[in-house]
């Protein structure tokens, strides 16, 4: 008896249409004269907050002024020297133990100007749930790491893994995050803070 896999693949093979070439993805896509300004504009429009900061000293000063940081009882930071963390993620065994984290300050690898998405991964983050379970999320992205659009973003991902291979060549979780969690499921009214973080603050670091 043939397996379901064989039956499905056989049916697909029998029914597949005539061959049709894959399109060339390289085009003259829209680019932005000032990617950082575009990123900040779009992030603001999707309900996030962005700050351009000179250096880590500047970043820490701005951070201290944020009400969400001042009011936080539990803070996680995975960026050495950034913020005043009081929860050490490497000592936390279960993701469930992070349920009461107020603020998480985490690395963003790069950002996309077009749609204010920040690419994050669990490569150096032991419990990936922290990006989604904290009440307020703070991401730090190097100013030099803002690409124009999603095409450039995937081009970057194709060579940012180990030995310049695809980042997806090994098991990894990665996500584009654009703004705070939101819903419009009750009468199309936009509500910020659905299940995930109630706010997203992105610091664009450096010049």
């Amino acid at each position: 008896m043939s397996t379901s896999k064989e039956v499905i693949l056989e049916a697909v093979r029998r029914n597949r249409p005539a061959s049709c070439a894959a399109p060339e993805l390289r085009q003259a896509w829209t680019i932005y004269p000032d990617r950082r300004a575009q990123f900040i504009d779009v992030l603001t429009a999707v309900g996030g907050t962005a700050f351009a900061v000179r250096d880590e000293v500047d970043l820490n000063e701005r951070l201290r002024l944020l009400p969400i940081v001042c009011d936080a009882r539990k803070t996680v930071s995975l960026l050495p020297g950034i913020g005043e963390p009081n929860v050490d993620l490497s000592n936390v065994g279960s993701p469930h133990a992070l349920a009461d984290v107020d603020v998480a300050i985490l690395p963003g690898e790069f950002a996309v100007a077009e749609n204010a998405a920040v690419w994050i991964t669990d490569r150096d983050v032991p419990l990936r749930v922290i990006y989604f379970l904290c009440q307020h999320l703070v991401l730090v992205v190097p100013a030099g790491a803002i690409v124009d659009n999603m095409h450039a973003a995937y081009e970057r991902l194709a060579s940012s893994g180990a030995e310049s291979t695809s980042v997806f060549a090994e098991p990894i979780f990665g996500a584009f995050i654009s703004g705070p969690s939101k819903t419009a499921d009750i009468e199309q009214s936009l509500v910020i803070g659905a299940h995930g973080p109630r706010s997203l603050t992105v610091f664009v670091l450096g010049t």
């Binding site: 049916a11 029914n15 249409p17 894959a22 995937y154 419009a184 499921d185 009468e187 009214s189 509500v191």
Partner: protein, 477 residues
């Protein structure tokens, strides 16, 4: 497929009986169409993207078997376990077996039209497994023991006062409260405890990448990510048509999806799962359930391009005014009318007629499915298969007989114009005249178009030119 065999027109009559609600529903969806338009206009290369997306899908379909195998081999290499399901029953059995093997009692699910299609929830509940739909809209319909009426905004048919009443009864929110932020906060608090208590998470899949073996899930609420990052077990359920060849193809689709769906530049979360969470398990269930048959249909295979953005729902004048439940299927709207009538013509024969052939759906579709053409072809096939109701068949035969005979056509036209003027109102607006329901017929003109045209020619001195036919009496819809 979960089918409640219904006649669309009959079911829609119940929806439009509440005129205020029907108007409110219409306006809510039209606003979504407006947001989509603004987002599309903000991207200069929008049409190039649509064209490209359509071609990527057609290319993928032409080698779907190879891409499915490539996907399985890469996903397996990354540590995921891939399962194949021919139909809904096999899909449900696979998911249930995985859950039972892990002793799972509580599952959180993010929005997945595929698991709706398979009727997974009742199947698992019958085995004593508690399933919670965690997308806010889907949770609301789950609490009301309903099904989503829209693939992107499942609770679009429900008013905030009704959500307020529901939450008052189920969550103990204040009586009479209907403020969306207050209600959403109550849901957040409640569902947080459900997430933390879950033993497994189930998600749908927006895209599966053959080249890398990963699956991509798009949400705004963050529910999918919470649901599969707390428990160690993640089951992702996908149809065979979700494949794309390369990760770079997502650059095209992700620029189109959220803009078409809600007018956002991208969904808040676009999560790429490559292999299981550290110390966890990732199972990917690949479902056929009639899709491979659809692939073989030259008329309808392009409906497999669909990325489930819902833009065709939001723009459709029939969907907006009749509501998703009147279709009686999991995926309603123009795209649902095509795939359901193709899969099961006898049961869903009324759906392709829930369409005015205005073509707006084809204009907004981000992957360029020729929706209105397919709906038209579908109607013809249903007629050829003898699945058109007798009254309609007779009416069409009569129309054909009249149109074949110019003298009869002229006579019938004259008779109708006179009759409309002379007949008493109760007769013209009787139950036999569907066109007179809920609207006033336009006044019958004294002369036919032919007569007007002849007169106009005479006035111009018998000129034989064909130009200049005046259409001043024309009414625009």
């Amino acid at each position: 497929m979960k089918a409640h065999p219904t006649n669309h027109a009959t079911a829609a009559a119940a929806f439009v009986a509440d005129l205020d609600r029907a108007r409110w529903h219409d306006a809510a969806l039209w606003a979504a169409r407006g947001r989509r338009d603004r987002a599309a206009r903000s991207v200069p290369e929008w049409e190039t993207l649509r064209d490209m997306a359509s071609h990527i899908k057609l290319h993928t379909m032409s080698r779907l078997d190879e891409y499915l195998e490539q996907f399985e081999s890469n996903a397996t290499r990354l540590g995921a376990q891939v399962h194949w399901a021919r139909d809904a029953a096999e899909h449900n059995r696979i998911v249930r077996d995985i859950l039972q093997r892990h002793g799972v009692k509580r599952v959180v699910k993010s929005k997945s039209m595929l698991t709706e299609e398979c009727g997974l929830n009742p199947h698992l509940e019958a085995q004593g497994i508690e399933v919670t739909d965690t997308d806010l809209g889907e949770w609301i319909v789950q609490l009301r023991h309903e099904h989503p009426s829209h693939i992107v905004t499942p609770a679009i048919h429900i008013k905030k006062e009704e959500v307020g009443q529901l939450f008052h009864e189920r969550l103990g929110t204040m009586a009479g409260a209907s403020d969306p932020p207050y209600l959403a906060e109550a849901a957040r608090q409640h569902l947080r405890s459900v997430f933390l208590a879950a033993d497994a998470g189930i998600t749908g899949v927006n895209f599966a990448i053959a080249e890398t073996g990963g699956v991509v899930v798009c949400t705004n609420e963050g529910n999918a990510d919470l649901g599969v990052s707390l428990p160690k077990l993640h089951i992702a359920c996908m149809g065979i048509e979700k494949l794309v060849p390369r990760a770079a193809d997502l650059g095209v689709f992700l620029r189109l999806l959220a803009r078409s769906a809600t007018g956002q530049p991208i969904t808040t979360y676009t999560s790429h799962f490559h292999g299981p969470m550290r110390g966890g398990e990732l199972h990917i269930v690949i479902l056929d359930n009639g899709r491979s048959e659809l692939l073989g249909s030259t008329d309808f295979r392009r409906s497999l391009n669909c990325i489930r953005c819902g833009a065709c729902f939001n723009t459709c004048p029939v969907y907006r005014r009749s509501g998703g439940h009147s279709y009686g299927v999991t995926v309603a709207g123009p795209i649902g009318s095509i795939i359901n009538a193709a899969a099961n013509p006898r049961e869903h024969k009324s759906l392709p007629s829930a369409c005015s052939l205005c073509g707006s759906c084809s204009d907004v579709c981000p992957v360029k499915i020729d929706l209105h053409q397919q709906l038209f072809i579908s109607r013809r096939q249903l007629a050829l298969a003898g699945l058109v109701p007798r009254t309609k068949r007779w009416a069409l035969k009569l129309t054909a007989a009249v149109l074949k005979r110019p003298w009869l056509y002229r006579m019938a036209g004259g008779a109708a114009r006179t009759a409309l003027r002379m007949l008493p109102r109760w007769l013209v607006y009787s139950r036999w005249n569907a066109w007179g329901r809920r609207r006033e017929l336009p006044g019958a003109p004294r002369e036919s178009f032919r007569e007007l045209n002849r007169k106009s020619k005479t006035r111009r001195g018998g000129s034989q030119t064909r130009r200049g036919v005046r259409l001043s009496g024309e009414t625009r819809p």
